[in-house]
């Protein structure tokens, strides 16, 4: 038997040769990491989400770049809005895959038979957050270069992207599971996600806009970032409370 398998050497089990009846169970954190690791491996092998995301984001970025003519004359609010529109639709074009794939291929049954509901949630949430930050790391710098965006407060910009990115990924994860468990169409994803994310997008756009202005009110910017962080906490708590019911629903 070969030793090149991805899950050989996983050293996060309770006891060697443990049986389910000798009282050992795997802690949720370990199950979470195993599910995250499995999702990364699947993504590396089929590239379903990352291809969808990159195809959408790069195309949109080029179209925006051409139509804005380099962006030299675009006001900060337009620059910020365009950035978040690209990030929102790019993220939502790919983040739904992580749950819908499990339901459509029926692998969710094996997952339900072997893991705790919360481990599935946190594993998927971590994967989507990782994917969101891959998108942000690729798209945001390209956007700033192509549209010649004047970044005045890079630290605060990074914070607004971080808190906004977490909000995007948590919302996307919980909406994806609702759609997947209700056997809905992936097309519903954006339709349901947009109204939920609208308040967060308003704040994220405002925070990003302020980081492009040298005369911006630092208190307003701090309030925006705090607002985004609050939204993230609210969505994480909601996801944690809601998920076990949705996951167990018939």
């Amino acid at each position: 038997m070969g030793r090149s398998n991805a899950f050989i050497g996983v050293d996060m089990v309770a006891q060697p040769n443990s049986s389910p009846h000798n009282g050992t169970t795997l802690p949720i954190i370990h199950q979470t990491l195993l599910i995250l690791r499995k999702d990364i491996l699947l993504e590396l092998r089929n590239r379903a989400a990352i291809q969808a995301i990159l195809l959408f984001s790069i195309t949109t970025l080029i179209v925006v770049g051409f139509s804005a003519g380099g962006g030299a004359n675009l006001p900060p609010d337009t620059l910020a809005s365009l950035l978040w529109i690209i990030l929102f639709f790019s993220a939502f074009s790919g983040l739904s895959h992580v749950f819908i794939r499990e339901e459509e291929s029926n692998t969710a049954i094996a997952l339900r038979l072997t893991s705790e509901a919360n481990a599935v949630l946190w594993g998927k949430l971590l994967f989507n957050t990782l994917l969101t930050f891959v998108i942000i790391i690729i798209i945001a710098p390209l956007y700033f270069i192509i549209l010649n965006a004047p970044i005045v407060q890079p630290g605060k910009l990074a914070l607004s992207l971080l808190t906004g990115g977490i909000g995007l990924s948590v919302s996307a994860t919980i909406i994806a599971v609702i759609i997947a468990r209700s056997h809905g169409k992936p097309a519903l994803f954006g339709a349901i996600g947009f109204p939920i994310l609208l308040p967060m997008l308003f704040i994220a756009v405002d925070a990003t806009r302020l980081t492009f202005q040298s005369y911006s009110n630092i208190n307003v910017l701090n309030r925006d970032i705090l607002g985004l962080a609050s939204f993230d906490v609210l969505m994480i708590v909601t996801a944690g409370l809601l998920f076990p019911y949705v996951w167990e629903s018939e």
Partner: protein, 208 residues
Amino acid sequence: MTPLKLQVSFESVFKKFGDREVIRDISCDIQHGQVLVVAGPNGSGKSTFLRIAAGLLKPDSGNVQISVNNIRFDPQAYRTQLGYLSPDLTFYNELSAVENLLFFSSLRGIRLHHDDLASILEMVGLRGRGRDPVSAYSSGMVQRLKFAFAVLHHPPLLLLDEPTSYLDEPGFRMAEKIVKSYKQNGIIMIATNDAREKEWGDLTLSLG
């Protein structure tokens, strides 16, 4: 260690989908060492019965209790401990059989060694094919992998829904051997209409 003593009890279990009552007032006790065959025409609720026993579905009314050495569990709490095989169970096509088995056994907190994997693949007739991606498997090979998934953790409660679908004659004998050897471990429930599979049962529950 105290020898494991298992009992499964169904008490007035009802289940309906929409207006259609699929399971109506089922009560039965299955004792350690028994094989229950659940038979009935298509749509009579055989798979639903097994899904309720597995904790994948909740009955609309009634109780299902799994007792392990007189400690009672509801099926949902016991779900990660049992072995389950059904037509709608699938694996990750991008992963190999070994990667799938390692992933699911790790989630259950079981460390599988290479010898364990080799012997389980040998038992289900997949020796030498463990590193192939599941997408390259035939239906019969996937069915054999489902057996490996179901018995990987030596579960005392084994739920088998149409266990010999897609299997050839050696595959049928493999399934028969597993049922006979696991019968001593606890309880097996088999949903089937196959005459040869029905012969494995000590008790028969006819639905529909």
